[in-house]
Protein backbone atom coordinates (compact mmCIF):
# COMPACT_ATOMS: atom_id res chain seq x y z
CA UNK A 1 0.00 0.00 0.00
CA UNK A 2 1.38 3.38 -0.98
CA UNK A 3 2.15 5.79 1.83
CA UNK A 4 -0.43 8.49 2.03
CA UNK A 5 0.43 12.02 3.01
CA UNK A 6 -2.09 13.46 5.41
CA UNK A 7 -2.81 16.94 6.68
CA UNK A 8 -2.05 17.29 10.39
CA UNK A 9 -3.11 20.32 12.41
CA UNK A 10 -1.95 20.99 15.95
CA UNK A 11 -4.35 23.19 17.91
CA UNK A 12 -2.52 25.20 20.58
CA UNK A 13 -4.87 26.79 23.10
CA UNK A 14 -2.82 27.11 26.32
CA UNK A 15 -0.49 29.74 27.74
CA UNK A 16 3.17 28.64 27.80
CA UNK A 17 4.28 28.19 31.42
CA UNK A 18 1.28 27.58 33.69
CA UNK A 19 0.79 24.07 32.30
CA UNK A 20 2.96 21.66 30.30
CA UNK A 21 0.62 21.60 27.24
CA UNK A 22 2.52 24.12 25.12
CA UNK A 23 5.88 22.44 25.53
CA UNK A 24 4.38 18.98 24.99
CA UNK A 25 2.78 20.17 21.76
CA UNK A 26 6.09 21.51 20.51
CA UNK A 27 7.81 18.19 21.31
CA UNK A 28 5.14 16.20 19.44
CA UNK A 29 5.27 18.58 16.46
CA UNK A 30 9.05 18.12 16.18
CA UNK A 31 8.76 14.33 16.42
CA UNK A 32 5.88 14.29 13.92
CA UNK A 33 7.84 16.47 11.49
CA UNK A 34 10.21 13.54 10.91
CA UNK A 35 7.41 11.54 9.26
CA UNK A 36 7.02 13.55 6.05
CA UNK A 37 3.45 14.58 6.62
CA UNK A 38 1.91 17.96 5.92
CA UNK A 39 1.97 19.70 9.30
CA UNK A 40 0.45 23.01 10.33
CA UNK A 41 -0.06 24.70 13.69
CA UNK A 42 -2.84 26.92 14.92
CA UNK A 43 -2.48 29.31 17.85
CA UNK A 44 -5.78 30.42 19.35
CA UNK A 45 -7.23 31.37 22.74
CA UNK A 46 -4.36 31.55 25.29
CA UNK A 47 -2.19 29.65 22.79
CA UNK A 48 -1.28 32.98 21.16
CA UNK A 49 0.78 33.73 24.29
CA UNK A 50 3.15 30.87 23.35
CA UNK A 51 4.74 32.89 20.55
CA UNK A 52 4.92 36.30 22.24
CA UNK A 53 8.44 37.67 21.78
CA UNK A 54 10.85 38.61 24.56
CA UNK A 55 10.15 35.71 26.91
CA UNK A 56 12.72 35.56 29.73
CA UNK A 57 12.24 32.76 32.25
CA UNK A 58 15.44 33.27 34.28
CA UNK A 59 13.42 34.62 37.23
CA UNK A 60 11.06 31.66 37.43
CA UNK A 61 13.73 28.98 36.94
CA UNK A 62 11.89 27.28 34.07
CA UNK A 63 13.20 26.44 30.61
CA UNK A 64 12.45 29.12 28.03
CA UNK A 65 11.39 26.94 25.10
CA UNK A 66 10.19 29.83 22.92
CA UNK A 67 13.40 29.92 20.78
CA UNK A 68 12.45 26.43 19.56
CA UNK A 69 9.53 27.89 17.56
CA UNK A 70 12.16 29.56 15.35
CA UNK A 71 13.50 26.11 14.41
CA UNK A 72 10.16 24.86 13.07
CA UNK A 73 10.90 26.25 9.61
CA UNK A 74 13.96 23.97 9.36
CA UNK A 75 11.65 21.00 9.88
CA UNK A 76 9.34 22.08 7.04
CA UNK A 77 6.76 23.25 9.55
CA UNK A 78 5.97 26.63 8.04
CA UNK A 79 2.20 27.01 8.23
CA UNK A 80 1.49 28.75 11.52
CA UNK A 81 -2.03 30.15 11.79
CA UNK A 82 -2.73 32.75 14.48
CA UNK A 83 -6.31 33.71 15.26
CA UNK A 84 -6.93 37.45 15.01
CA UNK A 85 -9.76 37.57 17.56
CA UNK A 86 -7.65 35.72 20.14
CA UNK A 87 -4.90 38.32 19.74
CA UNK A 88 -7.33 41.24 20.08
CA UNK A 89 -9.00 39.85 23.20
CA UNK A 90 -5.56 39.71 24.82
CA UNK A 91 -4.45 43.21 23.87
CA UNK A 92 -1.91 41.82 21.38
CA UNK A 93 -1.03 42.47 17.73
CA UNK A 94 1.17 40.59 15.27
CA UNK A 95 4.01 42.96 16.26
CA UNK A 96 4.04 41.40 19.74
CA UNK A 97 4.81 37.96 18.28
CA UNK A 98 8.16 36.44 17.36
CA UNK A 99 9.12 36.84 13.71
CA UNK A 100 9.03 33.21 12.56
CA UNK A 101 10.28 32.42 9.08
CA UNK A 102 11.25 29.57 6.76
CA UNK A 103 13.43 29.30 3.68
CA UNK A 104 11.78 28.24 0.42
CA UNK A 105 13.99 25.69 -1.33
CA UNK A 106 12.05 26.18 -4.59
CA UNK A 107 12.75 29.92 -4.64
CA UNK A 108 16.49 29.94 -3.99
CA UNK A 109 15.98 29.71 -0.22
CA UNK A 110 14.03 32.95 -0.05
CA UNK A 111 13.04 33.78 3.53
CA UNK A 112 9.28 33.78 4.02
CA UNK A 113 6.97 34.42 6.95
CA UNK A 114 5.58 31.31 8.64
CA UNK A 115 2.86 33.14 10.56
CA UNK A 116 -0.46 33.90 8.93
CA UNK A 117 -3.05 35.80 10.95
CA UNK A 118 -6.52 34.42 10.20
CA UNK A 119 -10.01 35.19 11.44
CA UNK A 120 -11.99 32.80 13.63
CA UNK A 121 -14.18 31.97 10.62
CA UNK A 122 -11.14 31.26 8.45
CA UNK A 123 -9.65 29.03 11.14
CA UNK A 124 -12.89 27.04 11.28
CA UNK A 125 -12.48 26.34 7.55
CA UNK A 126 -8.80 25.41 8.02
CA UNK A 127 -9.76 22.91 10.73
CA UNK A 128 -12.41 21.48 8.40
CA UNK A 129 -9.80 20.80 5.72
CA UNK A 130 -7.57 18.63 7.96
CA UNK A 131 -7.35 14.86 8.09
CA UNK A 132 -6.13 14.76 11.67
CA UNK A 133 -6.29 17.36 14.46
CA UNK A 134 -4.22 17.13 17.63
CA UNK A 135 -5.35 19.32 20.54
CA UNK A 136 -3.13 20.82 23.22
Amino acid sequence: MAEQIKNFLYLNRRAPYGTIYAWESLEVVLIGAAFDQKVSLAFLDDGVFQIVKGQDTAGVEMKNFSPTYSALGDYDVNQLYVEQESLEERGLTIDDLMHLTWEDEDEDWAEKDSIRVVSRAELAKIIEQQDIVFSF
Binding site: K53, Q55, D56
Partner: protein, 101 residues
Protein backbone atom coordinates in the same frame (compact mmCIF):
# COMPACT_ATOMS: atom_id res chain seq x y z
CA UNK B 1 -9.66 41.83 58.58
CA UNK B 2 -7.49 42.57 55.59
CA UNK B 3 -7.24 39.88 52.96
CA UNK B 4 -4.66 39.07 50.33
CA UNK B 5 -6.32 37.37 47.37
CA UNK B 6 -4.07 35.46 45.00
CA UNK B 7 -4.89 34.44 41.41
CA UNK B 8 -2.61 32.15 39.38
CA UNK B 9 -4.83 31.16 36.42
CA UNK B 10 -5.39 32.94 33.12
CA UNK B 11 -8.56 35.10 33.16
CA UNK B 12 -9.25 33.96 29.58
CA UNK B 13 -9.28 30.28 30.41
CA UNK B 14 -10.62 29.97 33.95
CA UNK B 15 -13.11 31.90 36.08
CA UNK B 16 -10.65 32.27 39.02
CA UNK B 17 -9.97 35.97 38.41
CA UNK B 18 -13.65 36.78 37.73
CA UNK B 19 -14.71 34.99 40.91
CA UNK B 20 -12.00 36.71 42.92
CA UNK B 21 -13.17 40.11 41.66
CA UNK B 22 -16.73 39.35 42.70
CA UNK B 23 -15.67 38.49 46.25
CA UNK B 24 -12.89 40.95 46.96
CA UNK B 25 -13.78 43.70 49.47
CA UNK B 26 -12.57 47.26 49.85
CA UNK B 27 -9.25 47.44 51.71
CA UNK B 28 -8.05 44.11 50.37
CA UNK B 29 -5.27 43.30 47.93
CA UNK B 30 -5.09 41.06 44.86
CA UNK B 31 -1.78 39.47 43.85
CA UNK B 32 -1.55 38.10 40.31
CA UNK B 33 1.13 35.46 39.65
CA UNK B 34 1.90 32.59 37.24
CA UNK B 35 -0.78 32.67 34.49
CA UNK B 36 -2.74 35.10 36.68
CA UNK B 37 -0.45 37.90 35.44
CA UNK B 38 -2.40 37.87 32.15
CA UNK B 39 -5.16 39.67 34.11
CA UNK B 40 -2.73 42.58 34.60
CA UNK B 41 -2.31 43.47 30.93
CA UNK B 42 -3.81 46.46 29.13
CA UNK B 43 -6.36 46.15 26.36
CA UNK B 44 -8.18 43.18 27.85
CA UNK B 45 -11.55 42.65 29.55
CA UNK B 46 -9.61 42.12 32.79
CA UNK B 47 -8.23 45.67 32.61
CA UNK B 48 -11.73 47.06 33.10
CA UNK B 49 -12.27 44.93 36.19
CA UNK B 50 -8.96 46.05 37.70
CA UNK B 51 -9.73 49.73 37.06
CA UNK B 52 -13.28 49.63 38.38
CA UNK B 53 -12.42 47.88 41.67
CA UNK B 54 -12.83 50.44 44.46
CA UNK B 55 -10.24 50.53 47.26
CA UNK B 56 -8.51 47.35 46.12
CA UNK B 57 -4.74 47.23 45.58
CA UNK B 58 -3.36 45.14 42.74
CA UNK B 59 0.07 43.50 42.50
CA UNK B 60 1.69 41.33 39.83
CA UNK B 61 4.77 39.15 40.17
CA UNK B 62 7.52 40.62 37.98
CA UNK B 63 9.34 37.38 37.15
CA UNK B 64 6.12 35.79 35.88
CA UNK B 65 5.49 38.82 33.64
CA UNK B 66 9.06 38.61 32.28
CA UNK B 67 8.82 34.87 31.64
CA UNK B 68 5.77 35.53 29.47
CA UNK B 69 7.40 38.33 27.48
CA UNK B 70 5.17 40.98 29.07
CA UNK B 71 7.02 44.26 29.56
CA UNK B 72 6.17 46.72 32.35
CA UNK B 73 4.52 49.04 29.79
CA UNK B 74 1.92 46.37 29.04
CA UNK B 75 0.78 46.32 32.67
CA UNK B 76 -2.44 48.12 33.57
CA UNK B 77 -1.86 51.44 35.37
CA UNK B 78 -2.20 51.07 39.12
CA UNK B 79 -0.92 47.50 39.24
CA UNK B 80 2.28 47.39 41.28
CA UNK B 81 4.98 44.96 40.17
CA UNK B 82 6.54 42.98 43.02
CA UNK B 83 9.28 40.36 43.38
CA UNK B 84 9.21 37.16 45.46
CA UNK B 85 10.21 39.08 48.62
CA UNK B 86 7.29 41.43 47.96
CA UNK B 87 5.00 38.40 47.69
CA UNK B 88 6.15 37.21 51.13
CA UNK B 89 5.75 40.72 52.61
CA UNK B 90 2.18 40.94 51.27
CA UNK B 91 1.31 37.56 52.79
CA UNK B 92 2.76 38.69 56.13
CA UNK B 93 1.08 42.12 56.10
CA UNK B 94 -2.44 40.78 55.59
CA UNK B 95 -4.46 38.83 58.13
CA UNK B 96 -5.01 35.95 55.77
CA UNK B 97 -4.48 34.73 52.24
CA UNK B 98 -7.40 33.71 50.01
CA UNK B 99 -6.16 31.71 47.04
CA UNK B 100 -8.27 31.52 43.86
CA UNK B 101 -6.64 28.54 42.18
Amino acid sequence: MSELHTVNKSPFEKSSFASCMEHVLEGSAVLLYEDGVYAAIKGTAAEGKVKSAQGVKFYALGSDLKARGLSDERVTNGVEIVDYEGFVDLAAEHDKVVAWV
